[in-house]
Symmetry: C2
Subunit: 201 residues, 2 copies
């Protein structure tokens, strides 16, 4: 019986998942963060076991075959994955753990752990998303157009999630997620142990 | 598309549903309360349309056959029922509405309106429930024993609800329900309109 919550923060690129997760970690001091495994080489300043678990490709593929990942993906030739064992250990210890992840990853997690709390972060509008991506100044017009088309299509995935939070103002979005986490602790599916206890006394 | 929430507060007799609902209505000023229809004769001080809608049995049975009730029951020879039309009108107007109801009634509501938010109120322990019922001083030992057996069995229904809230301290329970109502406003199933709107801009 797990006592902690697995909170999955996901949504289209540019919706502001990263900023929201950073603020959540600052505000909820007991919230644990999942550390991913990767076959990518460490960059300067990255710390083994904090930034990532750095492993080689042979080891990564062995772990895929052993179903040791909640989700994994290959991006630009490197593997990235969320280790099941660590996440489940935190949940069993009664700790809440947060996972910031793209949509494909979140759907894999849902398949492997449907009891998670799946939150889809949305930009207030596609125009605003376009502005945010343009402001970064890192993408060509063609890439921006492709990203926008992708975001448009990805909105359909919102209905595979439990909650949808519009990120028009970061603090308001963070507040909503904090409330969702508190409410989720009262879900009937998480109360089996309490009901057994009430019967005993 | 409904914008309001139907919040169903239910649970075994003696769990404290009534006190909790009274406090919720005081604290959330926009929260609407469903008015039941009944074939019972009005008591002194009861007001038509506020306490109940008082109708005769012929009319009540006609409405049952027309499926005009979200739920209904016959108790000690009188019918009681929750009119669909009024509840749905409030929801469409964007108002949240609360319904305090026994377990059988809540399960009927769930069948007719699964989008509702179903909250099961529990006593902190069966010993405490026993104390509360004894304190009322209205029931014989046999009746108390029967009530306790009933409450024991009814605990199983908790898993048909969305949330379980233990009423060990009224204010804490009320606070939890307020948080649940806030969180539920972010459920993906209630966000179809917003996602269409985001696509437009």
């Amino acid at each position: 019986m797990d006592n902690g919550l697995l909170v999955v923060i996901s949504g289209p690129s540019g919706a502001g998942k990263g900023t929201i997760c950073k603020r959540l970690k600052e505000e909820i001091k007991d919230l644990k963060v999942s550390v991913s495994a990767t076959t990518r080489k460490p960059r300067e300043g990255e710390i083994e076991g904090t930034s990532y678990y750095f492993i080689n490709e042979e080891e990564f593929i062995k772990r895929i075959n052993n179903e040791e990942f909640l989700e994994y993906a290959k991006v630009y030739g490197n593997y990235y994955g969320t280790p099941k064992r660590e996440v489940f250990k935190e949940l069993q210890d009664g700790n809440d753990i947060i996972l910031e992840i793209d949509i494909q990853g979140a759907l894999q997690v849902k398949k492997n752990y449907p009891k998670g709390v799946f939150i889809f972060i949305l930009p207030p509008s596609l125009t605003e998303l376009n502005n945010r991506i343009e402001k970064r100044g890192t993408d060509s017009k063609e890439v921006i157009l492709k990203r926008m088309q992708c975001a448009y299509d990805e909105l359909d995935y919102a209905f595979e999630y439990d909650y949808v939070v519009v990120n028009d103002e970061v603090e308001a979005a963070v507040e909503k997620i904090k409330i969702i986490i508190l409410a989720e602790k009262n879900r009937a599916i998480r109360k089996k142990a309490i009901i057994s206890k009430i019967r005993e006394v």
